[in-house]
């Protein structure tokens, strides 16, 4: 019982520490990515009830003003809109993943300090992205500083790096646990841990719930523990 208790405590500490690291790093990655996001050229937008004048300014010409971003980024994940006008109340985005601009695939946010950021939760393929301005009347103008979107693929590489980091933690734990007499196992360990890296990356890049990710991470930890104990047992007793 004492051993199980120890194991559970260790597992809990390891899980918590990794999760904290994940969320800290994820936050940093997201911020870096937003800074790196691509600024779009307004003049290329398709518009409805509004038209591009000049200097990043649109003039409202009807009741339902919006513009459509020609998405050449199917993996778009983050969107940031910086609006200069103070009369724009909020921004709504609609993303079309093959079924048109339906309310189910939309988000609306109030602008604070001239900036609004969206995180698209669906990793589904996005065909078109539409941006609507709230609270605007005929002949109003909207001047925007920038609209930036980021490519999810870019984030994917960062997550891969994150997965690598987690595996380095695993690796160091295993190497610390293993004493010198088990040195012959280490090359196999490295190969297996790279496979674990591949598995972990596959889990991370998918848009699954926190609980599934948590349980999956625990699984990977247990896999490492299993490897350790199996090595230990085999080194103590021959299988025949």
């Amino acid at each position: 019982m004492r051993i199980i208790k120890r194991m559970l405590i260790a597992l809990f500490i390891l899980s918590c520490s990794t999760l904290i690291i994940i969320f800290l790093i994820k936050d940093i990655i997201v911020n870096i990515n937003i800074k790196k996001m691509e600024i779009l050229d307004f003049s290329k937008f398709d518009t409805n009830d509004c038209e591009y004048i000049e200097n990043n300014t649109f003039k409202i010409t009807g009741d339902d003003p919006y513009f459509i971003i020609p998405v050449t980024y199917p993996d778009i994940k983050y969107l940031e809109v910086i609006v200069c006008n103070k009369n724009v109340f909020g921004v709504a985005i609609f993303y079309d993943n093959g079924f048109g601009f339906v309310p189910e695939n939309s988000q609306m946010k109030t602008i604070r300090d001239g900036i609004v950021k969206f995180e698209l939760h669906k990793t589904a393929y996005i065909k078109n992205l539409r941006i609507d301005f709230q609270n605007l009347k005929y002949n109003d103008t909207v001047t925007m500083n920038s609209i930036k979107i980021n490519n999810f693929k870019q984030l994917n590489y960062n997550l891969l790096a994150l997965a690598l980091l987690i595996n380095i933690i695993f690796l160091s734990i295993n190497f610390t646990l293993l004493k010198n007499e088990f040195i012959r196992w280490r090359i196999i360990y490295v190969i297996i841990l790279f496979i674990l890296l591949y598995i972990l990356d596959s889990i991370i890049i998918n848009d699954i719930s926190f609980y599934i990710k948590l349980v999956s991470f625990i699984c990977i930890y247990l896999m490492n523990m299993l490897m350790y104990f199996m090595t230990k047992e085999l080194s103590e007793n021959d299988i025949s």
Binding site: M7, I188, I199, S202, I203, D207, F229, N237, I239, S240
Partner: protein
């Protein structure tokens, strides 16, 4: 470090890991992503909502397409599911929480099966190969899948593992009280789980009688007295544990204790026209021979592949290279078994010494063939469903033979170091395959 220098048992890590993996699958799979899960889940939902066992014909649970429900056949696992749902509902009544609670029975049953496999391995191998048996049973993709949705199969496999463990224990201890009670529990679980596993009940009876008559040290009438005394104890326990269900079926289904006949009658009455038992285009009705069904219609191939791993409604296979790996492992195991068998035949003295084990192996083979025969019979005469899950009750004996075969081949390797590394790589890569199935097939299928 925290795990240094303690005698931590690998058994617990394997069991805990298997439990977490099964649970992980169970929360990942969306509702109705296992065969007929929506029909199966109706039973625990009914018990949970109304607090009573359903009549198989209750319109709430009767399926409009098939005209029947799973309420006609034993529903032990669904009853436990309902209990888990009730407990969960105290904290959370969301659909997801209740479904996870219902699935938790499968998770628990499969985790106990892993424990039983380690115990069986201890009795058969008495060395590190007990882990190989537990791993190749517990991390087979189809077994993990069965552990993650609402079904009766997981409890059937658990009952088979308990039965086989008690066969081994019984023959070793000359059927002491512990093994008799264990066998009774195993048979009771089996009887209340799945008809495909009933071969193990029949074989348990034969094995019990034969083992006492052949191996018991008592002579003459004393031998029969022992047989009667122990047999009566096992029967009494079984009757207490399962009698209520079959008496209930006898009363409400007009003498049909198994519920199969009544289920067919209702299917004939309410099923969609083309799915009524009399209208189904079974291979038998089509005039196909059994061999034609097995080979030309692809029954063997489909059943084998779905025994390894085909998920959802038989629509989500694993990667081809994984099937190749499992085929290679099986062929290696079979080759090892042939080597072992030829070695045993060439040493007759050894064969006599191991008669007790031989008796168990023969019964495992008979029980497995009964299971396969029932699946073939069902496909041929009732509904053509070449699905490996119908053959899953053979997984324990099948994997025991594969483990014996692999051990035999590994013993041919002289280097201890190489033998250990090979064993380690085999176990770990087998688990890694199951993790890749989860991360690269299950999650992307349902979450992208």
């Amino acid at each position: 470090m925290i795990f240094h220098n303690n005698k931590f048992k690998l058994d617990y890590v394997i069991i805990l890991f298997a439990f977490v993996l099964y649970f992980s699958w169970s929360i990942t799979l969306p509702y109705d992503s296992g065969p007929d899960e929506y029909m199966r889940y109706q039973i625990p939902q009914f018990i949970y909502e109304f607090g009573k066992l359903p009549h198989g014909d209750d319109p709430i649970i009767r399926n409009e397409i098939w005209g029947i429900s799973y309420g006609f056949t034993p529903i032990l696992s669904y009853m436990v599911s309902a209990l888990f749902m009730k407990v969960t509902s105290v904290f959370n009544q969301s659909d997801f929480a209740l479904l996870t609670a219902a699935r938790f029975v499968s998770v628990i049953c499969s985790t106990i099966t892993i424990y039983m496999c380690i115990k069986i391995g201890e009795l058969i191998f008495n060395d590190k190969f007990k882990y190989l048996l537990a791993i190749i049973v517990g991390f087979l993709p189809q077994f993990i899948f069965i552990s993650a949705y609402v079904n009766n199969d997981s409890i059937a496999i658990l009952s088979v593992s308990i039965i086989i463990y008690n066969w081994l224990l019984g023959l070793k201890s000359k059927w002491d009280a512990k093994s008799c009670i264990g066998l009774s529990i195993g048979i009771s679980l089996c009887a209340l789980s799945y008809y495909n596993a009933y071969g193990y009940i029949l074989c348990s009876i034969i094995l019990f009688i034969v083992s006492i008559l052949v191996f018991d040290k008592d002579k003459g009438i004393l031998k029969y007295r022992t047989l009667f005394k122990k047999g009566l104890m096992i029967t009494a326990i079984i009757l207490v544990l399962i009698g209520w269900w079959f008496i209930r079926s006898y009363i409400i289904y007009d003498g049909d204790i198994l519920g199969i006949k009544t289920s067919n009658i209702y299917s004939e009455m309410y099923a969609r026209e083309d799915l009524k038992p009399s209208n189904r285009l079974t291979p038998e009705i089509q005039g196909a021979s059994i061999s034609y069904m097995l080979i030309n219609m692809g029954w063997i191939k489909s059943s084998w592949y779905s025994f390894i791993g085909v998920f959802d409604y038989m629509s989500l296979p694993i990667f081809n290279w994984m099937y190749t790996l499992f085929n290679l492992l099986t062929l290696t195991g079979i080759y090892g078994i042939i080597l072992k068998f030829s070695e045993v035949l060439s040493r007759k003295g050894h064969l006599i010494e191991k008669t007790e084990m031989l008796l168990i192996y023969i019964h495992m083979i008979i029980a497995s063939f009964i299971t396969i025969f029932l699946s073939i019979y069902y496909s041929y005469t009732s509904s053509y469903q070449p699905q490996g899950r119908y053959c899953m009750p053979i997984i324990i004996p099948f994997m025991i033979f594969i483990s014996i075969g692999i051990k035999k081949i590994m013993q041919k390797i002289n280097s201890e170091s190489l033998r250990n590394i090979l064993y380690f790589c085999l176990c770990i890569s087998y688990i890694l395959v199951s993790l890749i199935v989860y991360s690269n097939i299950i999650i992307p299928t349902y979450y992208t």
